[in-house]
Symmetry: C2
Subunit: 341 residues, 2 copies
DNA sequence: CTGAAAGCGCTTACAG
DNA sequence: CTGAAAGCGCTTACAG
């Protein structure tokens, strides 16, 4: 023991491990980083010393020399309450965090609490505080985030509307096709007056699912006038439902762009004495917990939300490690038949 | 221009700013850190140079010498879906992030996705990756987090059940008193058969709000047998409501420990043909968006959720800066009368 | 396979 | 008020 060992026990450094193990800093560093060029018995001894001393590498020192922060940002350009309110996002975040836990990267939360990120957020992202960013719930009304890819490796949840250079990386599902399948299911049930509650027109899930609904109806020679747009929230879904019912009391089928909005719609249908699925057949989207938490278990398009989050991380990590990665990744969906259609 | 200025424009360093401004690194550093010992005109010139060069201090280098990570963890020992599902948490997080945005600290998300944090999470927290931690939605079944305070500055959202040394820091409301007020309101309405849907018994909001309800009823000489425990989720609130109604068809008043659970209860009451407030008067807790998103606008106990998050940050920052801080901070609540009672 | 040395970008006593 | 110098804890060519 050194004579001055009286102060509070500070975290041991590489230096101290080296001294204790009787080797150089370089060797300890190599062992810590799993270099293969250390003799087996030396490596074992160093590892043991690391164990007994409880050595943990200093993040900052590592970052400084490696020029990597080992941190990635989760950027949420969305109203915080709405973001939290949709179980779809819970799944995405869960997928992200659990995949990230297996890496040495840390997730830094950047809630913009608005569609357009603040200068603060933008500055943070471009100031080199993080090595990359994950963007969830992006609106095309914002252009700053779409351009971020030029500065920083970025992966989006869902295809962005903007075309940029370099092209934006994203993980998504084929929303058009999935919505088409959902709508065709309604048609196959014999429904003839089919409406939709679409998502906002500045988000691709809104735009694309609407397009899929339209395509299915047009192919079947049906009218495509029964569209109500909502903001993906339950409350707005209810409002849209009321509007649709006012416009078309004979509505007998409905495709809703998210389970949460469908939940709102279900409440209104119930309130107006429409039976689901007898009077109005309803198909949702997401297959989130919201699908089974309402009065009627929703038939819905399942999308692998948690996996979407995980694949976003994979893509970003690939980008960070300079690997060749596909810039677009589409995950499969399928229709889940339950009670509402 | 130096002759080798051809590569990709790297972020300028302190050194480069110093060279450009014709001063030493020390001086630039002092200006960056707002030292008062720099002559005004020199400071102005350096500031200008910093501007034109777009200099941003390197986080890692700073952390290394200052021995501070400038990062704090948000630890959520809770099922992710449930955490996201309750708008109360959305407010807390919003309060935390917006307060933090005014500081130089970064928020690192640690979703445990379970009541007990994984070894991974615990290791992360104690490995010196963050300077402090904020714990939200803590369950007393977990003891690891409660002991964390010995290693790291930690602030809890809500009084923890465990007694520890050093004592745990937390921001909370007086749940007992608030629940008592809510229940007395029900009594003042003439209700005589008053039940409660309590939160889980391993969380203080669960325990304390139940205690407040009981205290009010006992003071009035009423029975306190109508208790159903739920887990703060809407679905479980519905289940609890059904149970209560089965046990006491004559129930005419209800205090629910959260708005979200009250929403679930409202659905069941409606389903069983009970009018609210005519047949059953209901008082919730939180005054979150959930209070006004259901079929009946809830009378509820307002608690300043967003401010709670902000005060948690204040307390932690105080701890980090070695200031003297009160280890317990209680925020005021008040009853909001709407339509349900 | 191993070590001495330089360097990552900052801050801060210490002199002056 | 300002600068030269040491040092924070690592990694990595470079020799050997």
């Amino acid at each position: 023991m050194s004579p001055d060992s009286g102060g509070p026990r500070a975290a041991p450094t590489l230096e101290e491990v080296a001294a204790a193990a009787g080797v150089s800093r370089s060797t300890v560093s190599r062992v810590v980083n799993g270099s293969s060029q250390v003799k087996a018995d030396v490596a074992a001894h160093v590892t043991a010393t690391i164990q007994t001393l409880g050595y943990i590498p200093n993040r900052a020192a590592r970052s400084l020399v490696n020029r990597r922060n080992m941190a990635i940002a989760l950027v949420v350009p969305e109203d915080t309450t709405r973001f939290f309110g949709d179980p779809y996002f819970a799944s995405i975040v869960k997928g992200i965090t659990s995949r990230l836990q297996q890496s040495d990267y840390v997730l830094v939360l950047q809630l913009a609490d608005a569609v357009r990120p603040s200068g603060n957020t933008l500055r943070f992202l471009t100031a080199g505080n993080v090595d990359g960013a994950l963007v969830v719930s992006h609106h095309s009304r914002d252009t700053a985030l779409a351009k971020l890819g030029a500065t920083l490796p970025v992966v989006f949840n869902g295809r962005p509307l903007a075309q940029t250079d370099p092209p934006i990386c994203f993980v998504d599902v084929d929303n058009v096709a999935a919505a088409e399948v959902a709508t065709r299911h309604l048609l196959s049930l014999g429904r003839r007056r089919i409406g939709t509650i679409a998502g906002p027109d500045d988000m691709t899930p809104g735009v694309d699912r609407l397009a899929g609904w339209r395509r299915a109806l047009e192919a079947a020679g049906h009218a495509t006038d029964l569209v109500a747009v909502a903001d993906f929230s339950q409350a707005d879904g209810a409002t849209a439902m009321a509007e649709l019912l006012d416009r078309a009391p004979d509505l007998d089928g409905l495709f809703v762009a998210s389970d949460l909005m469908a939940l709102g719609a279900l409440g209104v249908l119930q309130g107006r004495g429409r039976r689901v699925p007898e009077d109005v057949a309803v198909v949702g989207f997401d297959d989130s917990p919201a699908a089974t938490s309402g009065p009627v278990r929703l038939t819905t398009v399942h999308q692998p939300s948690e996996e979407t989050g995980a694949r976003m991380v994979d893509m970003l990590l690939g980008l960070l490690h300079g690997e060749h990665v596909e810039r677009e990744r589409l995950l499969p969906t399928h229709l889940v038949i339950r009670d509402s259609a």
